[in-house]
Amino acid sequence: MRTAALAFSWAMAILACLFLLAPLLVIAAASLSPTPVFDLPVGGASWRWYGRIASLEGFWPALWLSVQIALLSTALSLVAGTMAAAAIVRGRLPGAEAFAAALVSPLMMPGLVLGIAMLQYFRGIGFTASWPALLLAHLVITLPYVARTMIAGMSRFDFTLIEAALTLGCTWPQSVLRVMIPALAPSFLVAGLFSFLASFDNYPVSIFLTDVRTKTLPIKMLQYIEEAPDPTLAALSTLILLGTLVLLVIADRAVGLSRMAGTGE
């Protein structure tokens, strides 16, 4: 009986993994399609679609814009979110819980609503420069990820460590640099990764704030799909997937994935 139940659980776990991974495998396979439609590479694979990515119209500016916005919004969110988390966890603020909820609330909001709201708002105050508007909007997207992760990380952080560092000869700033930040490194990494990825692949908010010259990669990709649906897009998606994997592997090497996911001790 127990063996049967265990076997069933295993089967379900494997099925769930397959269900989650199948689309990724299909897109990777389709990127090697020998024909100009999304075909599985049965009877001959082709790498030519990868070669075509670079020649997509407006690809490089879109990629560069997305990377810029993602990096900048992540960096700003890390600073602002960490300081906000410190205030919420340690500041003995009246209504700290409400602040925390407000900081994280954009996560609960549909992206479309957020996008329309920001478009209206920016128009209303006459703020029409699309690059800064995009950055501000992405800050709203990334800040909740950072705030949530850093609030969790900091509530688990043992502030006696700071006192230990002080008695061992650290000044206050030194103790933050030498103890608090390294001890919180896993949280910073998780926060940064989530934030970067959330910004990099954001569509519903960006769509309202881009113009002809300022288009992020996801928006450009949708445009390609509408104009010429060939496996070049599958190749590009596969590369993005690989890039994400590389990020995760580096993160794992740096602090350990189990420490990041909070699943291991």
Binding site: T160, E163, L166, T167, L168, G169
Partner: protein, 357 residues
Amino acid sequence: MEGGGMAAHLSVRGVSKRFGATPVLTDIDLRMARGELVTLLGPSGCGKTTLLRVIAGLTQPDSGVLELAGRDITRLPPYRRNVGVVFQNYALFPHLDVAGNVAFGLKLRKRPKAEIDASVKRALELVHLGALADRPVRALSGGQQQRVALARAIAVEPSVILFDEALSALDRKLRETMQGELRRLLRQIGATAVFVTHDQEEALTMSDRVAVMHRGRIDQLADPRTLYDRPATAFALSFVGQSLRLPGTVVDADGDGSMVETAVGQVRAPRRFLPGSPVIVATRPEHVRLAEGENTLHGTVTGVTFQGSRSVVEIDAGGAVLMAELPGRQALPDPGTPVSFGWPVAETLLFPAEEAA
């Protein structure tokens, strides 16, 4: 050893601290000689941890002066005091391995690499952890973490080492082993140390002198033997060791002491009080004999427990339940029988009644 002389290594004078309207420390005086081990003993909320934090510089006192190794440290931040602290939860740095933790303070002092390595090695060997230098601290047991915390504190050769309930997280058996080991080690390196604990056994075992703290004050500062034999207050009596206590009233006093009337008989005590004062008469269980003597009282035996080398007899004395400890294999009374008992005048302790907390 007594720390009362001129050359106090650590001196705390008139230190007071309030948290809001609540006084946590009131006019604390404590002088320690170099190499002395002193315990701050008391129940939770008595101010012992606050006093430790004041010495470490983690809490600023409202008033008073602190001197350490000939320097006024009252206004110095913790990182300029040269104190070592072993925290209750050890507070090891999770991102560093064992050697990294121990080297932390030495690196901040900008010592040469070779010197740091040598000091780390020596400190780890002192706590018998030489083989675990490159382990991550998460992989260690509670006892091992405790030793790392100790090695980290002693590696920088602090002027005083402070232990905040440092052994209380260990299980009983390990705690007892560590008590002996820690005491030997601190003697070996000639450390001056302050322990904070609520465990009276630990206090008696570990220290040269014990400060019994109660409601933000030091009730008594004495060596363990004196503390046990001659507690200065009713609180010190009840907090350290077992005791028998009876309420009474002083009926007579002369040059030799007082005569006290209790519900179950009259008792002589060597301490003088004004006739008419309400008092508490007390002694230790091992001084009681089931016979008429200098002080004779009357009660009823309510229980007898044989414990091998000794027996404990429970006596109802006019409503107060007293525990007497009798050595060896003497004949014991049956429960329910009336009994006369007493103890020597010299071992009779007397306290004002209002002091009994």
